[in-house]
């Protein structure tokens, strides 16, 4: 059986775009991806579309053309984009189709996400009492991690500082203004130890990826990027997740651990084989913890990695080369696909000012979301 290839990518810049709906931004990304692949909308046999808050993705066919193609909507929290991509590659791998699309877009209101207890199988009092706040979880998770593993608050600041510096070089990023480290550390606190520069914000944006079988890619004469692995996993026992009124004393692994291990196994690679990585960084500490959870370093090594600049664009393992969620914001449906978009750009050598040097050949992406889901992809040129 042949491999699944990514033959076209498109993106609508992240941030805030007045006068353009989430669907419009998705359509923009699809047209760009079609043109990038050199195909027509009518060539696309199927699509999986992700959106959390901006309407049903299949309504895109109104604008793209009523070709009768199959279009499946995906909702899976922050892993929605990854789930769309996982499903799309399955359709091609199975031999059922040979050209399809994964698309994601979103448009969230300003401010924190306003989750309701019932959506997470929780009693109403939990929300009434003020616990239905995602940032509380992220802050509690890193506070303990820092204590156990000797991570300083300054290292959290370094992650944000790098994100805005990388975002400046990425045309699709939202926050494109570098912020000095001391300003990041001294900014108003949102949820200790995190200041306002250490959390990403809900945002808008759209991303589309065109997938094809190896045979089809060859027919089209495009230079494919191979999707070596795409995994999506839910949580194991003893994990620590957002919106948890209680957690087990006996600690376990995470959805990320499983998704990552399986992706490496499927791709026949290890963390040392990866040239560039996009890791979920909805807050600064997430990037650090996810470096370890995905197997790239041991718990506690991040302190030295950041001081030594190992995750910089020119470092040993460049992480979040477009500034990640911290600089791009988080449109939930599009966020995971943005990571894959950025990896394709890097593997093509088209990253411009943010291009990873040394001709990268492999790229890794990872998302994590409530209530304990994770999706990983590994690409190879």
């Amino acid at each position: 059986m042949g491999e699944v290839c990514i033959i076209g990518v498109g993106i609508h810049p992240f941030g805030r775009t007045e006068g353009m709906s989430g669907v419009d931004q998705g359509v923009f990304a699809v047209r760009q991806a079609l043109s990038d692949a050199g195909i027509e909308w009518g060539d696309v046999q199927f699509a999986y579309g992700a959106s959390e808050a901006a309407g049903n993705p299949d309504t895109m066919v109104d604008q793209l053309g009523l070709t009768g193609m199959q279009f499946i909507n995906v909702r899976n929290g922050c892993a929605a984009g990854g789930s769309a991509l996982f499903s799309a590659q399955m359709a091609i791998k199975s031999g059922e189709c040979d050209i399809g699309m994964a698309v994601g877009f979103d448009k969230h209101p300003r401010g924190a996400f306003d989750a309701k207890p019932a959506e997470y199988n929780l009693p109403d009092w939990y929300g009434d009492a003020g616990f239905m706040v995602t940032t509380q979880f992220f802050a509690n998770k890193i506070m303990r991690y820092m204590q156990l593993n000797g991570i300083s608050r300054e290292t959290l600041g370094r992650v944000s500082e790098k994100a805005f510096r990388n975002g400046e070089k990425a045309p699709h990023a939202w926050r494109r203004q570098p912020v000095p480290l001391d300003e990041i550390l001294d900014a108003p606190m949102v949820s200790d130890p995190y200041s306002k520069y250490m959390f990403c914000s809900p945002a808008e944006g759209g991303v589309a990826l065109i997938l094809a079988s190896e045979k089809k890619a060859r027919e089209l004469g495009v230079k494919p990027i191979r999707l070596k692995a795409a995994t999506m996993r839910t949580r194991p026992p003893g994990s620590f997740e957002v919106f948890a009124p209680s957690i087990d004393i006996e600690r376990g692994g995470s959805a990320t651990n499983i998704a990552s291990t399986d992706a490496f196994r499927i791709a026949g690679m290890g963390p040392e084989d990866i040239d560039v990585a996009q890791l979920q960084d909805t807050e600064a500490g997430a990037e650090l913890m996810h470096m370890a959870e995905n197997g790239f370093c041991a718990d506690g090594d991040q302190e030295k990695w950041l001081i030594d600049g190992l995750t910089e664009i020119g470092g040993k393992l460049p992480v979040n080369t477009d500034g990640g969620c911290l600089a791009c914001g988080e449109p939930i449906g599009a966020s995971g696909l943005r990571q894959v978009y950025e990896n394709v750009v890097q593997l093509r050598g088209a990253g411009g000012a943010r291009q990873v040097p040394g001709d990268p050949k492999t790229a890794y992406s990872h998302v994590y979301g409530a209530p304990g889901v994770s999706a990983v992809t590994i690409l190879e040129r």
Binding site: A112, P123, V133, S191
Partner: protein, 130 residues
Amino acid sequence: MQPIADGLFTAENPPRLIGGRHKDSGRIVFPCPENDKFEPVPLSRSGKLWSYTIQRFRPKSPPYAGPEAFRPFPVAYVELPGQTIVEARLVDVDFDALAIGMDLEFTPTPLDPDAEDSVLIPAFRPAEAA
């Protein structure tokens, strides 16, 4: 003052939190799920700080039902030995004095400390020195 929901606190004075013990595995969770796989079990009144943060902005309403006037409050996870780790507010403590591992004791706390008749929510405070 009444608990924010039924089935959270024991009726004794002072009360304890009510967890749920899984009948087969013995795993304890909080709150006690409303199904026949779990049986109610009183949770330890004393525990240790497992982790914490300070909530610095007023949570969105809905769902938050606390007072309009907002003062930052700590949200913590408290390890109850041999049972489970519960999420709760912390009260009667300087934010600067918070330290993972510190001894805490359960103290139901009004959601609105300025109201005469507020509902009580789960909270812990530093344990009295013996």
